[in-house]
Structures are given as structure tokens and as C-alpha cells.
Symmetry: D2
Amino acid sequence: VPLGLAGPLRVRGEHAQGLFYVPMATTEGALVRSYERGMAALTRAGGATARVLVDENRVSPVFPFDDVGEAHAFLLRLGGLADELRARAEATTRHGRLLRVQPRLLGREVIADFCYHTGDAHGMNMIVHATDVACRWLVEQGLAPRYYIFSGYDSEKRAAGNLLLGGKYKTVVAGARLPAALLRALLRVSAAQFLDLWQRTVAGHLQAGALGYNGHYANGLAAIFIACGQDVANLANSAVGITRMEAAGGGDVYVSVTLPALTVATVGGGTGLGTARECLEILGCAGDGGARKLAEIVGAALLAGEISFGAAIASGELAQAHETYGRNRPPEET
Amino acid sequence: VPLGLAGPLRVRGEHAQGLFYVPMATTEGALVRSYERGMAALTRAGGATARVLVDENRVSPVFPFDDVGEAHAFLLRLGGLADELRARAEATTRHGRLLRVQPRLLGREVIADFCYHTGDAHGMNMIVHATDVACRWLVEQGLAPRYYIFSGYDSEKRAAGNLLLGGKYKTVVAGARLPAALLRALLRVSAAQFLDLWQRTVAGHLQAGALGYNGHYANGLAAIFIACGQDVANLANSAVGITRMEAAGGGDVYVSVTLPALTVATVGGGTGLGTARECLEILGCAGDGGARKLAEIVGAALLAGEISFGAAIASGELAQAHETYGRNRPPEET
Amino acid sequence: VPLGLAGPLRVRGEHAQGLFYVPMATTEGALVRSYERGMAALTRAGGATARVLVDENRVSPVFPFDDVGEAHAFLLRLGGLADELRARAEATTRHGRLLRVQPRLLGREVIADFCYHTGDAHGMNMIVHATDVACRWLVEQGLAPRYYIFSGYDSEKRAAGNLLLGGKYKTVVAGARLPAALLRALLRVSAAQFLDLWQRTVAGHLQAGALGYNGHYANGLAAIFIACGQDVANLANSAVGITRMEAAGGGDVYVSVTLPALTVATVGGGTGLGTARECLEILGCAGDGGARKLAEIVGAALLAGEISFGAAIASGELAQAHETYGRNRPPEET
Amino acid sequence: VPLGLAGPLRVRGEHAQGLFYVPMATTEGALVRSYERGMAALTRAGGATARVLVDENRVSPVFPFDDVGEAHAFLLRLGGLADELRARAEATTRHGRLLRVQPRLLGREVIADFCYHTGDAHGMNMIVHATDVACRWLVEQGLAPRYYIFSGYDSEKRAAGNLLLGGKYKTVVAGARLPAALLRALLRVSAAQFLDLWQRTVAGHLQAGALGYNGHYANGLAAIFIACGQDVANLANSAVGITRMEAAGGGDVYVSVTLPALTVATVGGGTGLGTARECLEILGCAGDGGARKLAEIVGAALLAGEISFGAAIASGELAQAHETYGRNRPPEET
């Protein structure tokens, strides 16, 4: 897959500050140029503000009981076992920390979210193992007859409404105010056009039963994930989010993305392999301490993609753009 | 990204018949082995039955009007313009065929689904262009003041409830009956365990607000899409579906996957590049006439992944599997 | 439950035309006055345009088979049985007409929507019986081994995403343009405030995982349904919809409601009993031929409620309104 | 609306214990008899276990800021203001207690859940007022420029995915094990039939994009709410939940309902008016201290309705039941 660098992209985060060139692996040349146009708009506007709000991951085992009453008693009991569970879970890992256990009743079952901080790693294997050990201990103590390590509530690599509330990987918000003059010059749209488009397409999302709202997060995520050695299957949860375009006065627009479940890592998995490592180094995110910085950069990059895509639809240039920029495919067949 | 072949997988489709070795690109060695175990189960059970039910793609432009009454009048008018719209749209493409136009009202707007057959291509660029030309004609005729080519209803590269009804790429169903003896010998679970797991985790999906139900479609899709030159961003829509595990009598289980919005292509885009072409050739799907065959194979492969994943959870071996098979990551950090 | 009349409400529908006083049964006095304010705004603005787009009801039985292949063959077979099925179904009813049968595959099952027009009646019992007879015939012919009359897909008295696409009772759209001066004088808000509110609260709906968007459809529906002898349980499906507030130029606002699954009847059930009959007569909707008219009036009434509620939130008067208007409850405890 | 008593229903809750006769107001005679059959099954099986897990209500105002950075700073600031906010909010009410404030970022906004316990009252007006006072104080202190009291996240009288997680009114779970002999004798179904039905219809719910799963909660809720003076509009949130039917060994079935957002009150609103008061007294729930007891009874009653409805579908008697029991409607038109 061809690798391009999109940028420069100015990010004003808590972890990422300055100009970045974002690696994107895609066979669709037009995609990189589209993101780059949005990045140019953000950079000229002073950069994208970005914040990481939540940085956790969870496993949600399910404990079946014979009766609602027994399940309820176990749920009440779990509250007093936090220290015991933490000790068991954290004994299995140097980096994972069990932040809390949140149980819920679902008929005669208890589903318990084991919520962890996993440092800069993806962490799913780590916390599955840690949770499994803690659950086995509960069974050995006779507190629960059995469990399944996955209840379906975890929403790992799935699109689900509960992702919108955070707690699955990193919740990132990025936003910027785009001045009227910049909109005209670079994006060839007015604030009114942007707002009109957003209002109409958000209604279309509602009618479609979409989770959240976005133009094309998946395009940017796929290209960056492949380039940077991320687990591409986590696109399913990472692509759930909410893009907003709002009037900001004086013909300006305020655009933002809220990404409640963004999966990015800078250690482990594919992050140390070949060009992935190099791409993370280009971003200054390789290794320990890089994951939140990477999350802010990805948030800003997706924001750029939403701006550019929105402008292309609002101005009616989208169909032409495909024709002009596309390189790798015959005009008839893609 | 390392490339592996998982198989053999026996498929009994209308387009794919026989044994297949499925290319999967992933840094997670355990993943290929997990899918392979499910493929072995399917193959020994006589193969996975697979069918392609719908093979379409759509663009859903939105036409804003001043008033509900005007929008309604336009909606009624559209019914009589099918031939005109088809002529305009199809003049832009050799391969795309406009099957029908389905309009809906949403306040004072009309959202109209332009539904196409796109041959063996991904087709999105093709039908965006075709629809754009047809919409421009409507504006030139004075029938609508303006339009946006995307309304949000299209659910292209997004997870949305309307995908479950089909009409966005290929709807594929694959299923097989697994005999009791095979369950025990190969998957180390009983039918009762499978059913128990499915019932509980489907409740967990409901509580999570998931779209449909699945174990880990995204893992298989990501690995196959990367290997076969598919647009990885379409994982967002392709991973929406419904896995089922049902009692089939005598201790057997019937397992199935329903994939309403699977995006696979065998011409155009990245399908002709380097190893992607080779991977499609391994499957006997390269080029014209291959897309439905590829859809059936991917459906059967995802079914294999669901069987293996479900067995690993039901038997409690999942955490250990990660420890045993994982190769590319330090034990602590993935 | 105290009964009030809210109005006058001017409706410009295809079935309802003129001024109406809408019966509302509620213990909350403030509610009637709130709807009345919105009705005053609509009436002064020239009335609410209203249209009935779809007028159907469906039963969706499920036919289980042994294998995906058998289910698929049955699905293909159903296409040729439309006349036979219609003859059986319609033999059981004078008023119900079977419009079409739409089958889908879901694993090794076929779910088939039997879509009917049911005149002015609620019609659920009628079409359940008609469909049951048709399904029994399919089994007697040996075409399917068995069926359940409900598959869960029908979304009768449930909130579900598929309601947004219509086909369950009446799809109604109502809208109106409210001039800037009227907004100021009567509702004490500007267009900018309305739009600002809508944009922000639609984002809140998205984060909540709501089906569609609305302020408080349920309040109006409950009050009107009780007054007019409707089946109150159908509030669950009727309250799914999409309210929009859009800039219309010159400081005006265009407001609309899209109600895809509104259940209203004017014959049968509770519609002929006591005051319910009188309430329907007040609206000029009692008996045969009244249902679409009633649908347009209810659509316009809910639109009024959304306008008034939105204005109360946007202007910050909501909390005070509760204090001022509420009568039936102690200030501390409601 | 005709009022009937369904019962006896044995409840084994923490607040409701013993036999109850449940008031139901409905024009559909068959409905009361259907619920009664399920109550008979529960009572003979020893009663329904019921638990109230959460007993809260929330208002979720939204605070818009100029930039993501400012919104984030406010979010961090809110954490330290819990005591101040509680003092302001609770000064307005004798019965409401502010339990906590939970903020989230959504672009450049903060949505903050103000979570209360409201005693035995519905409490919405109470906590809207309390929250409004607290929010005004935040603005007066210069901590936020403005707010809307409703953000859309509250899901008051709306169906939304976030209801499934609790925190909106009472989360109630009720369940019971039904012995094989009872299933045969009273409900004319086997455990296998029940399970088969549940598995298939849950798949239908998934394909429909339903929130949770249920047979017909809305029927029971409407009838009980009208009889007992509850706010019928809250049916929209109360009807979201998850019914389960599971194998329990030896041909028995375990059935349960999980109702995450059940709105019931025993003081204020319509609860003190006319027959509503009498109905609450029949249940021994009138006035202070009655709300959780009422919640457990309603949970058990809805469980009865699910059992009876499920049995009617599974045994194929549903269509006939309508014909046999229905009284208030002409056979043709309902």
C-alpha cells in the first residue's frame, strides 16, 4: 500500500504541540490530498485544539446465576472486593492498572466492567488475562459459579451505542475556529453553506439510524492505522463519533470532532515493526509516553478530513474531485 | 504486514464452490490460527452454505425545498422520471446500472436513494458521478432548486441501523450445521455451551446498544481486506451483521452469519496492485465476475472466525490462547 | 383525567384543512397551555402544512428452516406466491388489503413483511389474523415447516430504528415557516436562538443514542391518544421521529416534524367509546374516512408542541413555566 | 377507560412481598386476561423475584463555550464544585438530593448530568428547577457564559440507548423459574419452544434496530400507568428494556425482565387524584415510601405479560386469542 505524508498539521494539544506530517497508507491518492487541504485550513487558522479526556480500556465478563436474587447479592458483594480484585489482576501485568469494577444486573446475570489504564499499549490481551485471573479467583472463592470473559458489553472491535460514553480506549476531542476569509479562499465555502450542510446531513444520519455523525472518519483512520502499525480491526469502534459544525460569529465556523473510543498505541503489537516504527517516529510518538500524543494528532487529522470532505460536498466539487485526483483506478470501475 | 493463508475452507455457495485458502494480512499470528480452526470445523462438517442476496450500492442525495408541500410534490414527481434519470446516470458509466430511485420525505427535504448495480467494482466513485449528473439535470429542469450529493443516509463507511436492511454493497448469508462429535473433538465445546454463550452475549450486545451481534467480524475483515486490496475503510459498514448459534437437534449446532453490507470488489481500486492481485488469484476471484464469489468466501471465512472465537470463550481457553499463540508482541504490552 | 381543548390550530393538509381544537387529556395544566402557544404561533403564521406519506401496517412472521440454502429457496419461491397469499389473507377481512410481501433472510430463517392497508382502523388484530391464515396455508402446502406470527421485526409498540423508514402505521410530515416578528412577539426567541438550540440538542441526542430527535412528542401523544380513544401503548412506536429547526432567511425559522410510525384510528378499538367519540367528532374525524385527517392534525399538534417547548428552553423560561402553570401538584413533589 | 384488576400476582421483592391485584385500565379485555395468565404462572411458580437497582433521575444541561480548550477547563473545574452545586440545588427542594454531577465533553460543549434522588415523586419538575438554580449560579460566578437546561442527553420521555445503562428513574429487574409441568399445564408450551421463540425473535429485534428486546411492555405499562395516575408520556422511556428466556435445566425456563428506566411515583402529579389514589391503595403503595414497592410490582407484572405473550406466540394461539377474548371492537375493524 502506497505511503504518503499529509501536512503540515498544527496541533495545540496537551501532549502534541506544533506541526506534524501525518503518515497515511492508501491506494487512493485523492484521499491524502483531501486530508491535506483540511490540514492546511487548520494550520492557517492557528491549529486544532485537542484534548484526551478518557484513557481507559475495559473487559466486561458476565457472571450467570440461578436467580435474580443471587445475582443481586453478588453485585452488592462485588463492591467490597475492589482491593482483592485489583491485587489479583495487577499481579499479572507490569503496566496495567485496574481503576475500578462497575457491575450491572441483566436478568439473573451480573456484567462487570473491569476498567484499566494500560499505558501506551493497546492492552486488550493484557487486560483480558488480568481479568481472567481475577474472575477465576471469584469462582475459586465460591462467590460465583462461573463466568464468560466476554459478555458482549465490551464493544471491542464493534460499533455500539455505549462507545459514545467513553471508557473504551481514548476519548479525544479536537476543534478549531475557521475564519470566514479562510473558508472562502481555501475551502471555497461560506459558513452558511457549512451549517446548512451539517444540519441537513445530521438529519440524514438520524433517519439512517447512524451511531453518532461523521463524514468519513473511516478513511483517515484506515490510512493512519495501516501506516502506523495500529490494529486495523479497531476501526470498528474508533470510527464512532460526532462531528460538529457551528456558527461562530462573523461568518466564521467552529468545527469539532468528538471521538469517544479511539484505539491508538505506541508500544506492542504492530507498532514496532518496519515502517510502522518509522511512521511513529516521524510523529515523535514512538514508544513509551507517545499514545496520548498520537491520539491528539489523530483527532486533529480526522478533524481535517471532516472539514475538507464537508467543503467538497457543500461546494458541489466532490464528484469532480474524484475524477481529477484519482490515480490508481480506471475511471469506469472504482 | 505479514501475510498468511488460512484454510482449507470448504464453501458451498452459488458462486464459490470447493476448497479455498484465504489470504489474511495481520501481525497477530494467533488470529490466523483461530480462523483456521473454525475453517477446519466447517470443512469437516461438509462446508459452509453461502448465498449473496443483494448486490447493490446506493448514493442518497438530499434535495432541500422551501416547504413540506413543495418537497412532497417533488417526491410525487420523481416517480415519473425514472427513465429520464436512468438515461442520464447510465450515460456516465459502462458498468453501472441504475436499478431504481427511492425517495423519502424528511421535513421539507427529499432524500432519494439512487440504487445501482456496479458489477465487480467497488463502484462508489462511479455512482457518485452518475448520480451527480442525474441530479444536475433535475436542477437544470427546474424541478429542484439544489441538492447535496450526500445526505448522510447513504451510510458509506459508517455503522448505521439502515445497513441491516441491505442495499449497501452485498448482503451475504453463510451457515453450517456442526455435529456434536465435531464440536467436542475439534472445538472442545458442547452445543449447550455454544447456546448458553450466545444467549448471554446477545443480551450483552443489547445492553451495549450494539448494531447487530458479532464476536469479531472486524478481525477477519481487516486481515482479508488488507491482503486482497479492498478499501479497508469499508470495514465500518461491512462489520455490521448478525451471528447466530442455534440448537439443531442431537447435540448439533447451527451457526450462521448475516452480513448485510459487505464491501468486496475484484476490479478497480487496490485490487489490481501487487500482492492483492495474487491473493485474489489464489481465491480464483481476480477480475471480472469474481465479486460475488469473493463475497461468499468472505462470508464463510467470517463464519469460521465466529465459530472459533465463540468456542474459545465458551471453553474458557481464550486468555490462554493469546498467551500461547501470540508472537509479535512482548507479553506485557499488547 | 382532566380533558382540555388546545387551539385554535390551523392545518393545511390534504385531508385536514382549517382551524381545529385538539382534545388533550392530562393532569398537567401547563402542558395544554404550552401546546396552545405553539398552535397560536402556527395559526398566525398561516398554518402547518401536513402530508400523509405512507399509510400501511405490517406483520412480519418468521419461517425457520434447517439450512441457509432451504431458507434462500423459500425466499425466492415467495416472490411467485403473491396472488395466492393475497387471496388467503384478504378472505379474512372486509377492510384490509395486502399490498405486498417483502422477505429477507436472517441466517437460516426468512422474515417476511406482510404489508397492508387497513382503512381507518388500527388494524393490528385484523392483519395478524389475515397473515396467520396465509402462513398456515404456506405450511399446509409444504412450502415451510412452521412459522411464528411475530419475528420481532414488526416493531409493534416498540421503539426501533426500522420505524424511521416508514411502513408501520402512518408516516406524517408537518412543517411551517415562522416569521421573525412572530418569533419575537409570541415565543420570545430569535431564529438564531432556535437554531443554536437545535444544533446543540441534536448533538446531545446523538451522544444519548436516541432514535431520531424530538423535544417531547410523548407528552402530546399521550394527551391526545387518551382523549381520542387511541391505543396508548402505540405511543412507543408513534413517539419515534425527527424534529427540525432550520434557518429560512430574514430571521425566519422553518420547523418540521417527521413522524414515520404514527398510530391513529377513527374506527374500532376505543374510538367509539364515550368521550373518545365526542373528541373525534370535535375534530371532524369520527368514523370512516377520518384517519388520515386525524394523522395530519396530530402531526400539526406535535409540531406546535415542539415549537413551544423549544422556545421555552431557548429563552430559559422553562423552569419558571413549570412553577407558574402547574396546578395539580405540590411544588415540592412532582 | 374500563378498569380491571389482574391477579393475584405473587412478588418476592425487597419492598413488595406477597400477593397483589394489579389495576389495569384498557379497552382491550383480552389484555387483562393475558397478563393474568402470566401472573398465575408466576404465582404458582412461587412468585417473581424483583429488585430495584438504581433509583435516580437526572437533568443534563449543556454549557456551550467558544473553544474545546475552554470547555475542557470548565469540565475539570466542575469536579471541585460539587459541594457548592449541591447546596444551591438542594436549597430549592425538601425532597430532592443531588447525588453527583457527571460532565462530558461534546466538541466545545460540556454536558453535565445532575443526578438526583427524588424520593417517591416523579421529580422531573423538582430537579429541573433545582438544576436551573445551580446552573444560574455557575453563570453568575462567571464560570460559564450560558447554558440550556436540556441538552437532549436526558432522554426524558424518549427512547434512547443511554437509558439501558440506568440513571433515568428506576432500574428494576424481575425474574422467575417456571417448572416444566407448569409450562405444559398452564401455558401449553415447552421450555424448548420458549427458547426457540426467544432466540429467533431476538434476532428479529436486532435486524429491526430495536432498543433492547421485549414482547409488549407498552401494553402493560399503558394500562397500569393510566390506572395508577402515572405520567403516561413516560412510557417512551419506561418501555425500553430486555426480556430474557433461558433454559434452567430439567425442562424449566428462567424468564426475566430488566427495566432500566421505569418511571413510577406514588406522590405528586396524578397519583393523588380520584381512582388513581384508590388503585395505589389497592397495591398498598399510596403516598410516601411506596415508589420502590410499586416499581417491583410493575416489574413483576410486565414479566407476567412477557410470559403470557411469549407462550401465545410460541403455541400459535395468538391470533385465536384475539378473536376469542376481544370484546370492545367489531371483528373487522380493530
